[in-house]
């Protein structure tokens, strides 16, 4: 490991060497201010951009010459994430303390009022809580179904057998579909008049079958579609764990006459536990954001609105941007608590093992 030894003395402020980032920053600021004052917005954006690039380059050279490689390597990623993710996040965090509607120019500081409103208001809060409960329900059902299906599929593919490669890609395909297409097509499969499900059920029961006619049916339809699309993801992770178990352990287990069940729990499971947890984490985060299928399959009907659906509705259709932002931050808080809990459990497990 190379240490971040700072053996290079800082250059005097005005010395024009490449790693003098202070000079670059100063020059950049001056030029930018002049540009903003003198030029129209579009042009000054380019000038400011160029200046940012100049300062960044000076920082980079400085970091390289000082062997501060960590910062140097991480900086571009942090920069992109900052501009495209963190900055908008902070912006919307800020918005959540204001009364702002995107179709209205007025903006007014309201403190925590938005939060109080989304959590306690007589009209808004019950819908939010319902959506939250729905989201929780979807998370539990769809993640559980994905994990079970993915796990079983992975067990099927864990061995070497002829044509494995070609069959595996078939199972992976649902993951590659566009949600628009799979959503629309599942609404066709579920369709009471034309759908195959209704046709099959009709042949059996003699009655027309309308899946989306009740909340249970609608939830089942959404959960099934989502789990169908993403179980292959879980499968891939579990499968990677399964194939990473060294073959000689199974051979030793065969010699030691270890039962299949014990083999699974003492040899196989420790290898896939971490990946199962990871699949759980990723799929839970994604399931919290469930929106598109609810929209495409049922337009939020039958009391299936999820929190992401509600936020999109509030922020985009009703233009209550700051309220949507406040609600989002409530959710973010919950997801962070959940994720930390997961990371805590995962780490404790790893240390214990």
């Amino acid at each position: 490991m190379t240490t971040t030894a700072q053996f290079l003395p800082a250059p005097p402020l005005l010395s024009p060497v490449a790693h003098n980032w202070k000079l670059a920053l100063l020059a950049g600021l001056v030029v930018s201010v002049i540009a903003i004052v003198l030029f129209p917005a579009r042009l000054s954006v380019s000038v400011v951009g160029a200046m940012v690039a100049l300062v960044a380059a000076a920082f980079a050279v400085n970091a390289y010459r000082r062997r501060y490689y960590g910062g140097l390597l991480v900086a571009p990623a942090i920069a992109v994430l900052f501009v495209m993710n963190i900055f908008p996040l902070l912006w919307s965090l800020g918005l959540s303390f204001f009364a702002y509607q995107s179709n209205n120019q007025s903006i007014r500081f309201v403190g925590l009022n938005n939060y109080i409103k989304v959590l306690t208001n007589d009209i808004a809060a019950p819908a939010n809580w319902d959506a939250l409960i729905n989201t929780g329900m979807f998370v539990v059902f769809t993640v559980a179904l994905q994990m079970i299906t993915g796990f079983l599929l992975a067990m099927l593919f864990a061995k070497q057998f002829p044509l494995r490669k070609y069959l595996l890609i078939l199972v992976l395909t649902p993951m590659m579909l566009s949600v628009v297409a799979s959503g629309v097509f599942f609404s066709y499969y579920y369709d009471p008049t034309f759908g195959i499900l209704s046709y099959v059920m009709g042949e059996i029961t003699g009655n027309q079958f309308i899946l989306m006619d009740s909340k249970v049916g609608a939830v089942a339809g959404i959960v099934f579609t989502d789990a169908w699309m993403w179980a292959p993801f879980v499968m891939l992770l579990v499968l990677a764990g399964l194939v990473s178990v060294p073959k000689y352990l199974y051979e030793a287990a065969a010699i030691d006459r270890v039962s299949k069940a014990r083999q699974f729990w003492t040899i196989t499971f420790p290898y896939i536990r971490g990946l199962l947890m990871l699949a759980l984490l990723f799929r839970t985060i994604e399931a919290f954001k469930l929106y598109d299928l609810v929209y495409i399959l049922i337009r939020g009907g039958q009391d299936t609105k999820t929190i992401a659906y509600l936020i999109t509705e509030i922020a985009n259709e009703q233009n209550k941007t700051s309220e949507g932002a406040a609600l989002s931050y409530v959710i973010l808080f919950m997801v962070i608590v959940l994720t930390n809990l997961y990371l805590y459990l995962a780490n404790r497990r790893n240390q214990g093992a």
Binding site: L249, A254, I255, R257
Partner: protein, 362 residues
Amino acid sequence: MSTIEVKKITKKYGEFLAVKDASLSVKAGEVVCLLGPSGCGKTTTLRMIAGLERATEGDVIIAGKRMNELPPQKRDIAMVFQFYALYPALNVGQNIAMPLHFEKLSKEETDRRVNKVAKILHLTEVLDRMPGQVSEGEKQRIAVARAIVRDPNCFLFDEPLSRLDVELRHSMRGQIKEVLSNLSKATVIVTHDQLEALTMADRIAIMRDGMIEQVGTPHEVFAKPANVFVASFIGTPQMNLMEADLKSFGKGVASVTLAGNAVEMAADPAVSTLRPSKVMIGIRPRAFTAESSAGKSTIPAQAELIEPMGAETLIHARTKLGGDIRVVVPRTQRIKIGDVLHLKPDPKQTHFFGENGRAVRA
């Protein structure tokens, strides 16, 4: 009875012939080493005995029962793997206890048996540790402990000591030998290290290119190698193998042309069956005496490189035709580089190999 018998087993991977017609029988309480260079098929043979590979042809008979079709679970065997194959998620004690679950023993009995073997192999202190937290030598002992914790039909070892350093290897050889001698089971050990084979085995089977070249006691394979390969493979420093022209044979003495010299040397009476032809003569470096003057049965060679080995000195000498001869002389015999040695082979330790590479012996 704990015996292993292997009858003409063959293993093919597609067109590749890994093991060909290998036969071997191991009595109860006997330790047989499968010795050979890497890729000679010795591990494959062992895995066929274990049931981890299925023999393409031939029979595997363990404890008197043909077991070709049986999976490892049904063969009741114990095996120590090359990389130990410790279960990474279980601690040392649980690892050793793994083979006992099959017998559905009580918790107390399991603990008792585990503690017993742990004591034998000095593992009592580390029973609660994970495999990742113990030393290489301890891992090796855990693997042995796991094998001897129950009472199997036989023991199989796949390169058990190859991952240990020289010191540890030496002490483990002794320990394993001691443990095995108390168990009186048929045991097969695969190794590429001849010292390991010579010290641990009751008998050694030397393999090359999927075939067993010779089976015999450590003394037999050393003193009476069946062919050129065995002769060159066993013994350090390596046996000198020299091409020679056999001229005639009479009264126990063979006249040969060796490295450009006419030499008369005592030979096995069976050499008389050979017609005058090209032969290979094998003489171990310790079977020479370096004389100061030429004689009828001496080979002249000039000392080129001298390696003191402690009690003895290894000399690389060059013959008239440029061939290299390795000679070991006692430390007390002072030889300098450039000295011409007249090497006299010990007639009892001179091996003649015919054109087919087989030893010519009565």
